[in-house]
Symmetry: C2
Subunit: 691 residues, 2 copies
Amino acid sequence: MRYLKAKIFSLILVFSLFIPIHADEGMWLFNMPPSSLLKAKYNFNVTTEWLKHMQLASVRFGGASGSFVSPDGLVLTNHHVGQGAIQNLSTKDRDLMKTGFYARTRAEELKAAGLELMVLQEIEDVTTKVLGAEKSDMTAAQAAAAKDKVIAALEKESSEKTGLRSTVVNLYSGSMFHLYKYKVYTDARLVFAVEYAAAFFGGDPDNFTYPRYDLDISLFRIYENDKPMNSKHYLKWDTAGVKEGDLVFASGQPGSTGRLLTLAQMEFLRDVSYPYTISNYERRRALLKEFSSRGPEYARQAQGPLFGIENSLKATIGYQSGLLDKKLMEKKAKEEQALRGAVKKDPALDNEFSKAWDELADAQKKFASFFKAYRFFEGGAGFSTGYFNTARTLVRLAMEKGKPNDERLREYRDASLPSISRRMLAVTPIYDELEIFNLTDSLIQLQKEFGNYQEVKWLFAGKLAEDVAKDLVTGTKLGAVEVRKKYLDSELDAVYLSDDPMIKLALLVDPISRGLRKKYQTEVESVETRNGALIARALFKLKGTSIPPDATSTLRLSFGAVKTYMESGKKIPFATTFRGLYDKAAKFKNKPPYELSPSFIKNKAQLKLNTPLNFIATCDSIGGNSGSPVINRKGEFSGVLFDGNIQSLPARFVYSDQQNRSVMVHSRGIIEALLKIYNAKPLVDELLGKK
Amino acid sequence: MRYLKAKIFSLILVFSLFIPIHADEGMWLFNMPPSSLLKAKYNFNVTTEWLKHMQLASVRFGGASGSFVSPDGLVLTNHHVGQGAIQNLSTKDRDLMKTGFYARTRAEELKAAGLELMVLQEIEDVTTKVLGAEKSDMTAAQAAAAKDKVIAALEKESSEKTGLRSTVVNLYSGSMFHLYKYKVYTDARLVFAVEYAAAFFGGDPDNFTYPRYDLDISLFRIYENDKPMNSKHYLKWDTAGVKEGDLVFASGQPGSTGRLLTLAQMEFLRDVSYPYTISNYERRRALLKEFSSRGPEYARQAQGPLFGIENSLKATIGYQSGLLDKKLMEKKAKEEQALRGAVKKDPALDNEFSKAWDELADAQKKFASFFKAYRFFEGGAGFSTGYFNTARTLVRLAMEKGKPNDERLREYRDASLPSISRRMLAVTPIYDELEIFNLTDSLIQLQKEFGNYQEVKWLFAGKLAEDVAKDLVTGTKLGAVEVRKKYLDSELDAVYLSDDPMIKLALLVDPISRGLRKKYQTEVESVETRNGALIARALFKLKGTSIPPDATSTLRLSFGAVKTYMESGKKIPFATTFRGLYDKAAKFKNKPPYELSPSFIKNKAQLKLNTPLNFIATCDSIGGNSGSPVINRKGEFSGVLFDGNIQSLPARFVYSDQQNRSVMVHSRGIIEALLKIYNAKPLVDELLGKK
């Protein structure tokens, strides 16, 4: 403790400009937890057992989070995290998004095709092995390739040895590498889902805001060998519920943050990447709204994609607001100047690290020159249809599987093949009219931006985008699982002889896409990795590893306090109630997106309206944390994280616990609703351990 | 001798139907020469030294033949073999095809860009090694792949060890494998060429006929380190000249024959392959004639291609005439029945070999179903322009060089890379108008045959073939050697990012082309190899290896006698004279293609008109033998083979020495013309060893 304090103190002296006194910031590594900090600030003792239990009770749910909440494999997550699966289980005549779902018996639980849930079993530090591959005379690209080879070998070896899906995670911009080993579960069944209206009350206007009134939950059960799995490490329920000031933890998979980015990298996002992303989302949102307006079935089909786009758009606008905030950027600039100055002062550091910032800045300039092409071709933005993704996967799988494991595109290495296979063989609905609609739009953009590219000229052949899209979507047979299976089992040459137009399209644009990907890896990614690692090492030398790494879509631990905040001179309460929900609905005359679901209208009388529904805490989070269990000191499930307030969005780059808040569904609100609104006593009994 | 006779006798008993008594048939392997036969029939003793000298005096000249005729690296071949180089050295204002060429001093000798001459140094039997890779439980395709891996390794190992270009040659349909090791010479300079009119008097009408009056010769000199090479093994000149009945040998690289083909394979050629080839050549000939008619420079540019097409067309029609000859086919059928019957009789043979014929027949049926697609895409018939060949080579080189040697397409293995590089960097003329003309035609055919293929739809994009061709040819920059060099040195990803339309075209059609190639290898080639080898083994068991293997574009030894033959009841003399030339020109009023070159008109008075100009012999030959030295008993150069008579064409399938004759330029005719017509005394002195 004294040591930590002393250390912080000395750093303040040198780097007071860029090293904040530690707030509740940080998405911490489970194998490098902020033990001293938690002891110092909250008098909480982190034990190995406590960490292991949390880790094993946490579930990776697609790109987001969830947790075990019963010993019988029951997984709780957000409704919007389970949304893809719920929508896939819906049809025109059985719209589970609209009606919600509850399996009163296990026999009624609905298997979600293609869903994979993973539980992190072990983390191994492989930094020395990976960095050992880099020789001093290598270019950035050569070094990246050499390290990648080692990474591929480590992943393959671990997968084969342990049977666990093993992935090396690049931490601190490539200066630390940990091997994550996951147990993969492929049979998850839908147990419970609220109605969309209840999960997403307030819709897009209220998204990323607080106060909130969302019952954003769904529950799935993992099966093994057709029986509910035995989930020994599950979270017991916090029936009392959190109070103001309580210490809470969130355990989930934050996607990405940019707190260690250089100013040049942030400027790239601000000036190149986000403007494109935002305008792209805005156009697509407008189009999908138009599509939805054609009728109820159109609206149903577009609901998922539209939610996704609105959600991402609002988040990105929030991130961009941080970058457009001159004060924030000035603060960043000063911090960077301070660090560079400190490096410059020490001749050894100067020699090793000083060039890193300029090289990173150069890489941003280079990337700006082909960023859009990269997004449209390799990123697939020019071909917005699930059929194209399928075609590309099948084509590239056939191309890559014939290569040695470590020479393949990352996503086609041995460790990923079972997952690709399951994805390709999952039977999920696809709506051709919507596919044509999306593809048409993306082709129009493609032609606008890259109409002079030979591939685009060929693809259009003087036709209208809509006709090109129609020909592709109506011509492809990739909607049929048996066709996908055939390609999945094919050798490359059989794929080459396909006459499926979508496969042909994937083949047509594969060379330029790969070319752009390699260009990105060589000119941008490897330069970022090398120099990002240099800057991180400079930070370590001057500061130790008291800063957690940026988020990497892997399991992290956040902590913080249940806490109000001030906005426009008003104190914002730490929790909302069911009463607030009804009040707000009334205020907006029950009009979308403020309409109550029929069950909430019908069962209002049963509810204790003062029961807390949502609450907030200072713990650090970002996209990907959705579905994270929020846990009290006793390790009980106090709620499920589903959002951040609008102030938290610029925290992608700079965290502050003054106003940044994560937003949770309250453990008591969940029980109250399950009992009174959904009449789901058996489920509540399971959650409360009373069965 | 007794042994051989006894053997032949016993075979006659069993297989009298299909085993002819040995005529002067055969393109024999230098390491398995017909020693006993030569001793028996011509009382000639083949010695190891004699063979080695012949082998080292023989020069592989592109796909054809030549020989050393002086100790200073002087190589004599046909004019039509040197034609590509001669045409490449010509321009609008210096048309060496028309005027001929003679370098009176070595300084005047003209370096032929991109030309590679090779001399076979050694042959090694690697049959055991190659066949050892095949396991009994392998499919035909797996066995082919396994053997191919061994072949690649043998070639690489030998190339690296010896510095010689090393190629494994598949003999007897895959039942014997020999490793050929060549010394490669890359600096060859034009020393002498006659005028086209003198080389090809009689043109297409007289091509593949006899009597003939062609001075079809050109001479090149090989340089090493900018000095004439020391060609120790050269042929001394036969100043006396051949007489009727003389034994002569031809040493050259016959391209391919089909004497061991099954009936089903011959029917495939007759019904599928040749009809396409012939009609394709006929159309292209008509078009090139139209192109030539546009003016003298057009005619000059088209001369080489037109000659090539007319030559191939006439040959193919000749081959086809054999297949359309019912008697020939009946003979083949009976021979095959006899062999199958003999196999059937012996249970062990029956079990091992009987299915081979049916499987071969099945493979032909399969090939028929995609033969045209294979020719148009993988064969490049849909993209007739040198630019496409260049683009494909550059694209595939970039794709293949990143793979392990034994996994590459054969033509991109390490042993071939220096040659590819030289070819790509050679500066040779290319005429865009002619390229557009040829490409347009091939694209029209492509669209007609495969207009429903997605790649073709894209390529055309509603445009006319001529416009597509124009865009491609005027858009490509591959005509510039520095551009080719750039791609040659590029990694694949840089090629992927090319905006050259011809590179894009090569990328566009690469997948389908590779798919068809693999299909061909799997369903046809490997089945032919496996079963062809079985049939060959059956033949060996029943007959020994007294039958030479089919031609494989590698060095072979033929033998025969200078001999007249009967045609339409008339005896055709064994030689023609200069007098005959002048007579025939006069008969046709000196009109093309029977016009004398100006030098022949001007210098007629100097000539001894009775000097023999061309002569014939029974030695076996086929396309690729052009330029072969014909040698007398003393090992002297008696002439250069340049053609076969029309009767020799069906000998592709069935040889007969009744009428089949090879046609040569006579050694005395060459000297007479060099002295009297071309005033080339220094050259004659060199040939006669008088310098």
